[in-house]
């Protein structure tokens, strides 16, 4: 895997993307925060699904949400369903330690765009951001 040029060239197109990291694990929050900063982003970081839903209810929207599955107060499945029910059009990417196909399928059905097993890697984030930028280009052209 080569990172170098890809990360630096994409950081220019990424800088206007708004990102929310939702995870109860401080280590994962720190990691994902730093991964995203490496791509030129400035993510907001919250600790559970309810905080994500509360932000949306206050009128804050995000281009990308990285959503953990297992969290206290409100888990990732509940939060994703709630956000979609409220009309959130963000790209929501599930991130879970539970890697069985059935568990990931259940999380996907809540309304995710993608689901990855933890921990995220540079390649995964690169893929997500490319998908996001492609979607953004499609919206502009329509």
């Amino acid at each position: 895997m080569v990172l170098g040029n890809d990360a630096s060239s994409s950081s220019l197109s990424n800088k206007n993307l708004s990102v929310l990291v939702v995870d109860d694990d401080p280590l994962i929050r720190m990691l994902h925060d730093n991964y995203l900063k490496h791509f030129g982003l400035k993510p907001l970081v919250v600790e559970n699904g309810k905080e994500a839903v509360d932000l949306f209810q206050l009128g804050t929207s995000f281009d990308l949400i990285l959503m953990d599955k297992e969290m206290p107060i409100m888990n990732g499945v509940e939060a994703t369903k709630a956000l979609r029910d409220m009309g959130a059009t963000s790209m929501i990417v599930g991130v879970t330690s539970r890697g069985s196909p059935s568990e990931m399928q259940a999380f996907m059905e809540a309304g995710l765009d993608f689901c990855f097993e933890k921990p995220l890697t540079f390649d995964m984030i690169d893929f997500i951001l490319k998908e996001l930028n492609v979607n953004d280009d499609d919206d502009t052209n329509n």
Binding site: D25, L27, M30, N34, S97, F122
Partner: protein, 150 residues
């Protein structure tokens, strides 16, 4: 070949951690996040891991003192612990975590106990090795870009 003796020592320590199976690719991902603006990132992440996971180790220890075992609870704790351990590339610790979860699923209490003792050994060994590694790293100063072990 690195000529600076401290950096050479650091390279050898690093290679040994990978060759002996203590660390995996995820550790390299952490190193790639380290730069001039974040020069101690890897050490900070590892420090956070050991600080945070200590609580989980204690929870598991306490749960293993209560009979009959609550395998569902033990599995939940270990699931969290495994996730954190994966995030820093702690390969042997992660392997023992996986085995522990399999024992939980099959309701094998003795297996859980044995496995947990081994897990704690690996956890402690890795900590000592990484502490020594970071001590030399601080003395050696910033390294070149992280390279993947062959």
């Amino acid at each position: 070949m690195e000529r600076n003796p401290l950096r050479r020592q650091l390279q050898l320590m690093r290679k040994s951690l990978f060759d002996q199976g203590y660390l995996d690719e995820q550790f390299v991902q952490l190193e790639e996040l380290q730069d001039d603006t974040n020069p101690n990132f890897v050490e900070e992440v590892v420090t956070l891991y050991y600080r945070d996971s200590a609580r989980l180790v204690l929870n598991i220890e306490q749960a293993l003192e209560r009979k009959p075992y609550n395998f569902h609870k033990l599995d939940a704790y270990m699931h969290q612990f495994k996730g954190s351990s994966s995030s820093i590339g702690a390969k042997k610790v992660k392997a023992e975590s996986t085995l522990f979860r399999e024992y939980c699923k099959s309701g094998n209490g003795e297996g859980c106990m044995r496995c947990f003792q081994q897990l704690k050994k690996e956890y402690a060994t890795l900590r000592k090795k990484l502490e020594a590694y970071f001590q030399v790293a601080r003395q050696a100063g910033p390294m070149e870009t992280a390279c993947r072990p062959k």
